[in-house]
């Protein structure tokens, strides 16, 4: 019997991709990183950036501040967000066996937005802000905290419902409804707010990688790190879910528990990113498809790291593009990812000759 030669070396699924692909992606990652560090309103020559990165003293003070305290944290945030959103999207697409699923499909992103709106719109007058200040809370931590709370709340609701719901189509619809409810509540608050508050909230919805540094970056790293670890350990479960719940069950997977774990890790990833950076769209949908195309496999053991790499590269690229208007202003990251992501998705769909691939 002839077995395809690659099949001899395969793990559970798929052939081991040639090392070249990984190498190529790593190279692209480094390039994207350097590009992102170079792009910015202040023109810093490439050589100087190198120097600033690798020697801890000397160099222009202002430039050092910009590279160390502004661009580097931003790039780190991009890496974390790129990984988190892509892996979240991958898990959702597998769990729901739906190529259009993305991390926000369960309403987690909407929940985070709800928390932020609660702070900025419903309670956001200076009076409340000053009042809360007396209690010790402050500024951006409040917004971040509220977003985390909102995301966690929605996650709990989703988990409770997930226990009582047997199949995934129902879960998808429930997610859609949660999205609608949170958007409706947010709209009501917007309606009753003054223009400044509405504008501030609107700015938040455009997303930004720049606001995370220091302690916030540390916390984000921990949260993303944990989420990614759980997700990676779920690779085998996700592989089984590719066959649908009945087969997965027959192979020994406790589908309910798997669903819980997947929802938890995705919520952690997406909730924390939304809390710190605002909603960033399209990466979650597009990157898993790109990863599947690039590595031509369905094995999650391979797709997860691949999605991390590709997602990071894409987000760094988008961030570089967002800096493009120069000193005038910076394009909101959410808009750039959508502008890039939409054509990618369309291109993928057109290229797939058989739309029943999924």
């Amino acid at each position: 019997m002839r077995i395809a030669p690659e099949a001899k070396n395969s793990p559970l699924l798929g052939r081991t991709p040639s090392g070249w692909r990984w190498l190529g992606l790593l190279l692209l990652l480094i390039l994207a990183l350097l590009l992102d560090l170079t792009a910015g309103a202040v023109r810093i020559p490439f050589r100087d950036i190198f120097h600033l990165l690798f020697s801890r003293s000397g160099g222009d003070d202002t430039w050092r501040f910009i590279v160390d305290r502004i661009r580097l944290p931003k790039a780190c945030t991009a890496v974390l967000a790129g990984c988190g959103l892509s892996v979240g999207g991958l898990q959702m697409q597998t769990l729901f066996r739906n190529p259009l699923a993305e991390p926000g499909v369960l309403g987690i992103t909407a929940g985070a937005s709800l928390g932020v709106a609660a702070v900025m719109l419903a309670g956001g007058s200076m009076a409340t802000l000053y009042a809360i200040k007396e209690l010790g809370g402050s500024g951006s931590w409040m917004v971040t905290g509220a977003a985390c709370l909102g995301a966690a709340l929605v996650m709990l609701v989703v988990l409770m419902l997930a226990r009582r719901v047997r199949d995934n189509v129902t879960m998808l619809i429930i997610g859609l409804m949660i999205n609608s409810i949170t958007i409706a509540i947010t709209s009501v608050w917007q309606y009753f707010s003054n223009p400044e508050e509405v504008k501030e909230y609107l700015l938040w919805t455009f997303g930004s990688l720049g606001g995370v540094s220091g302690n916030q970056l540390l916390i984000l790293t921990i949260m993303i790190g944990s989420g990614l670890a759980v997700a990676f350990l779920s690779s085998k479960m996700l592989d089984a879910l590719l066959l649908g719940e009945n087969y997965a069950r027959s192979m020994g997977l406790t589908v309910e528990r798997a669903r819980l774990v997947i929802i938890c890790s995705t919520s952690l990833l997406v909730g924390s990113i939304t809390a710190f950076c605002g909603p960033i769209g399209f990466l979650g949908i597009a990157v898993p498809h790109l990863a599947r195309g690039a590595f031509n496999t369905a094995s999650h053991r391979i797709l997860m790291p691949a999605s991390c790499l590709i997602g990071t590269i894409l987000l760094l690229l988008c961030d570089s593009i967002a800096q493009w208007p120069g000193s005038q202003t910076v394009l909101p990251i959410n808009i750039v990812t959508s502008l890039i992501g939409a054509p990618v998705v369309i291109f993928l769909l057109l290229r797939t000759k058989n739309l029943k691939v999924y």
């Binding site: 395809a4 559970l12 087969y247 069950r249 020994g252 997977l253 369905a298 029943k356």
Partner: protein, 356 residues
């Protein structure tokens, strides 16, 4: 053949529980056993609860009452069950870029490492399953590009890769064309014998089942018909009247009339002499037929289709004669005596209104 059963049911009753309400699908079933090396066919009309029974035995849904013992134990966990029973269902599978080899390899799920890593013995089992199912040529194909028949074989290979003593299939022949159906049934019979598996499959294919099954489980609606009782209306099966199950060797069930009774409820009559279902009611016109062998058998069927009743005392005779290796039909009516070379010609003549 091992005589210790792989699976035994005790006092099993299948059904659904939803919102506190219990819907009974089967009444209390007799003790069912699956033994190694045997192929069991689960037969029954649509809606009779075949799928429910199969899913209950496989552990996909809980029984209303009773227990299923596998390898001597009841209440196995999901992962223990996965090492005892593998399934081939009617679920459509295959998104996300899966290729055939990967799909088959997924069958090793209960045995593979924590990240899904395979070792050499895993790969050997996969190789053997691929060979047994005969899908060597399909390995690099994407699952969504397979035809129904190919897809079925791939799912079978996956189930074989799971390397369990018991294999259960739910309507495996559903979307296949006739040659594929036959090949699949033959393959299953072979697998039962050669790999010493206990195979349970549910099907409508009475014909093939009768030829291939070592044992038949026949599901029918509760009380068998009494003499003179009118069969229930079509669709009565969907009411929550519980199903009952008869089992035995297929030939026994034919000879003792179980098949006939079971299908009479469907307003369909089963002819135990020929092992087929009679489509046509008894004819009005009478005719006498003499001849034996294959030609006689098929002539009888053709006549039955045309609405003829075969009687010794009829006035029209048909004689089947072998002449120089070719068959000829001789039609003798009171006023004529003609010969035809084909059944079609014969029938045309019989249907001629001017026949005398």
């Amino acid at each position: 053949m091992n005589s210790t059963p792989l699976l035994v049911t005790r006092g099993l009753q299948t059904g659904y529980r939803s919102g506190g309400k219990k819907t009974l699908v089967s009444e209390q079933l007799p003790e069912l056993t699956i033994k190694a090396g045997r192929l069991i066919c689960l037969l029954g009309p649509n809606g009779s609860g075949k799928s429910t029974l199969l899913r209950t035995l496989a552990g996909l849904q809980p029984a209303l009452h009773g227990a299923v013992e596998i390898a001597g134990r009841a209440g196995l966990s999901s992962s223990e069950l996965a090492r005892q029973i593998s399934l081939v269902l009617t679920d459509r599978v295959g998104g996300s870029n899966l290729n055939v080899y990967s799909l088959v390899a997924l069958g090793r799920y209960p045995w593979s490492g924590w990240l899904g890593t395979l070792n050499d013995s895993d790969r050997e089992i996969i190789r053997r399953s691929i060979e047994a199912a005969g899908i060597d040529a399909l390995l690099e194909r994407k699952v969504h590009t397979l035809s129904d028949g190919e897809s079925q074989k791939v799912m079978l290979a996956r189930a074989l890769a799971q390397d369990t003593p018991i294999l259960m299939l739910d309507e495996p022949t559903a979307h296949l064309d006739l040659p594929s159906r036959i090949r699949l049934m033959r393959l299953l019979h072979q697998l039962a014998r050669e790999m010493n598996k206990g195979i349970l499959l549910s099907t409508h294919e009475l014909d093939l089942a009768l030829q291939v099954a070592d044992e038949v489980w026949l599901l029918q609606s509760a009380a068998p018909l009494q003499m003179g009782e009118a069969p229930p209306q079509p669709g009565a099966m969907s009411q929550p009247g519980a199903m009952s199950l008869q089992m035995g060797a297929p030939e026994d069930l034919v000879l003792d009339g179980t098949f006939e009774t079971a299908f009479e409820r469907e307003d369909v009559s089963f002819d135990r002499a020929t092992g087929v279902f009679r489509i046509h009611p008894a004819g009005k016109r009478t005719i006498r037929l003499s001849g034996s062998g294959i030609a006689a058998f098929w002539t009888r069927r053709a006549l039955s289709r045309e609405g003829f009743n075969i009687r010794e005392e009829a006035t029209t005779h048909i004689d089947i004669e072998e002449q120089a290796g070719r068959t000829a039909w001789r039609l003798r009516t009171p006023n004529a005596d003609r010969q035809y070379n084909s059944i079609a010609g014969l029938l045309e003549a019989l249907n001629d209104p001017n026949l005398s």
